[in-house]
Amino acid sequence: MDNHQKILAAEEVLRKLEVHLRRAEKPARYTGGELYQAEKDPGQELLRFAFAFPDLYEIGMSNLGLQIIYKVLNDIPDVYCERVFAPGLDFEAIMREEEIPLFTLESKTPLYCMDMLGFTFQYEMSATNMVNMLELGRIPVLSCHRSKEDPFVIIGGPCTYNPEPLADIADLFFIGESEEALPEIMDCLRSWKKEGGSREEFLRNISRIEGVYVPSFYQVEYFPDGRIAKRVRLWEEAPLKIVKRIVEDLDRAPFPQKPLVPFIATVHDRAMVEIFRGCSRGCRFCQAGMIYRPVRERSKETIKALAEAQLEATGYEELSILSLSTGDYSQIQPLVEELMDYCKKADVSMSLPSLRLDSFSFRVMEEIQGYKKSGLTFAPEAGTQRLRNIINKDISQEEIESAALQAFSLGWNSIKLYFMVGLPGETREDLEGIAEIGKRMVELYRQVNGGKAGRLQVSLSASNFVPKPHTPFQWIAQNTQEEFTEKHHYIKDQLKSFKQVRFHYHDSKTSYLEAVFARGDRRLCAVLLEAVRLGCKFDGWGEHFRYDLWMQAFENTGVDPDFYACRNRQDEELLPWSFIDCGVEESFLTRERDKALGGEITKDCREGCQGCGVNKRFSCAAWEREGEAQNEICR
């Protein structure tokens, strides 16, 4: 397809939008044109890339990854990166009726005109939306059906640390952080376009880029009982292991100073600066804590410069600093103080997610929130110290209580606590412990407020534990839905007479499907396609989630979901994601699992290397800080 045909296709979309867009619920989701949108001339020789977010505009536009990738790609002169989101159900119906193909917001070009379409896979339950978007964009859903005229479909994001459930859909995956790899991928695409080779040739070339995984170069064979027997290479030069990519020097990594500023309210509509990547705490349930290792900080000066540049360029009224655990930033105190100074002068408010519960945090919160006290949030994750040791969540009862006491004496009236149910090694006492913490909050509030607790609101929120790949719990069976439900009721019963305490829990059916896809293999592709055919989409949205249709899809395809969610794996089993190397070694994961079951904690790796192995592949500041002698354990 030449440029002229692409321009005509876009004009056709535009003509239809002029008539039909006004029928959409929120037309501004589809118009583009926001401040700092990239503008390039589609008449020129460009590599056309669509960044696809498989959820609504309001969700996708809150994603920092989108802003980073948008900048990285559009900074390349001959690359035009545009955006596309999942259309709302109302507008999808109009698009189907009026035969409007899914299009990019910037130039209204149909997706089938792109050279490459890049999905971000942030959440297991967004897979149906990807399939639906491909269909709406008139791109064959299965990679084996795509021809030379079709775009390449690349999928990245945290969920691709187990890419296998989408193996038949993606032409290629990218595992890890893409800032440095994207220009390499574009170079490869450019030369391939010039030389006019086959799709196969492109995929061979691109598989040489570190972090790229081309699933069609491999075949998976299974034992009769359903476990994976082996992975066979169909092309002998295909890499055996796919090593994730990271950006070693965050200070020099590209970061948006002029992010797109949406017209309509989005979930997080504010300036955002990422202060570090990775996390040194080693919570055993947490996938992010494993796959984003090692910890890499952005310098305080760079953070300040980026924050100021963003605020100046956008006029945002709020600044948020992002990381997995804000309080662990090495210079958090001076950073927050200096940012606060600037924000006060610039009349900007600040939000600091995931601070530690120490006196400094309270001082900061007092200052940034003034008299408007929003809710206070803690995540003990488990109800007793014993279980917190098992999951290696380093927070003690005393810390929770002293923080709550401080908060109540400073005038807070509402407190939220997050827990998980279904963790390995969990007993009745742990469930009771969740309720106990809720009750204890009421007691402490009474202590501070002269016996009264009328204004107090305690919210206990329990999510259902979903075992994730690349964590010490990756071998462990998830609780059944019946077990989850029984546990929810058990906790609820304990709290009957406490009207200040509200107990919320997640839907077990959604958690079950999350677990299936989190640790699924290639056989789930067929289920996914069948689910879409039956009408599943927006599965992450409670009101749209159709468990019955999903079960129908499993039945129609003869795949047993319990095999993925509710089964304990042996150490010898070849796991679907075993070829993905995130730097953390499997021996570390088994060691951590065994320590967990023995109730033994592992220290934060800033206090000494714990030997996860990531330093063998990447330079790890925590490891380098120590002397060689102390690091014997790592070898």
Partner: protein, 232 residues
């Protein structure tokens, strides 16, 4: 210093709601480094308002933003720096200092001029527009159902006295209307179209209308209308 800023909204921006426009201007003023005065009290908010909300899906050449700045700025410079801070699709038409006008612009609005186009209409439908407009002019009353938002009940209203002027342009491809707008009496162009279409032959009324607000007016003590941009 108080200013009346007249601005326009083109087709690109027609789907940005009133509330979203407020936030857009607040951010644009911040980008342009135009400091606003803040109200006193428990939760101070910047002194900035849009004179008359515009419905989603309408374009406009006559919108008004009223702001009170913390420092005096040449109106011309304010216009220029604000324009530079705005995304494509929002144009600053003029900017004047408000000294004699004490009331809020929003409280002064009595009328709005609209241009209503029928881009998909066939010549036979243009004819219907002409006929309906003529019948409308002759009619003593034009009763239309209006949904009362507060009580959620449907009322019959006579829209004839709310329509100051109505004229047909381009053989019926376009209508120009001057209708009551604001907090005292209000008629939406949509309701006007409903009233008009009742005079057309069944099924012959052109469906799709493109509505553009041209100007907002206030009534002077002598009964004459004055476009808001002329206020000082």
């Amino acid at each position: 210093m108080r200013y009346a800023v007249k601005w326009s909204k083109d087709a690109m921006m027609q789907y940005i709601s009133h509330l979203d426009m407020m936030r857009l201007f607040q951010r644009a003023l911040k980008r342009a480094k135009i400091p606003l005065m803040y109200s006193q009290g428990y939760s101070p908010h910047p002194k900035m308002s849009i004179a008359q909300p515009l419905s989603l899906g309408y374009t406009s050449k006559g919108e008004y933003l009223e702001i009170e700045t913390a420092k005096d700025i040449e109106p011309f410079l304010l216009q220029q720096s604000l324009q530079q801070a705005l995304p494509k699709g929002i144009g600053i038409e003029s900017c004047r200092v408000l000294e004699r006008t004490k009331k809020a612009l929003g409280a002064l609005v009595d009328y709005a001029a609209y241009e209503i186009r029928f881009p998909m209409a066939l010549p036979s439908q243009w004819e219907q527009v002409c006929r309906a407009a003529a019948a409308f002019q002759k009619a003593e009353r034009v009763m239309v159902q209006r949904l009362q938002k507060k009580s959620a009940t449907i009322q019959m209203v006579d829209i004839k006295p709310l329509t100051e002027k109505l004229s047909v342009k381009e053989q019926g491809q376009c209508l120009e209307a001057l209708i009551c707008t604001g907090s005292r009496k209000n008629l939406s162009p949509q309701l006007l179209l409903e009233g008009l279409s009742s005079f057309a032959q069944e099924g012959k009324w052109p469906g799709e209308a493109r509505i553009c607000r041209k100007e907002l007016y206030t009534t002077l003590s002598d009964g004459k209308l004055l476009a808001l941009w002329r206020l000082s």
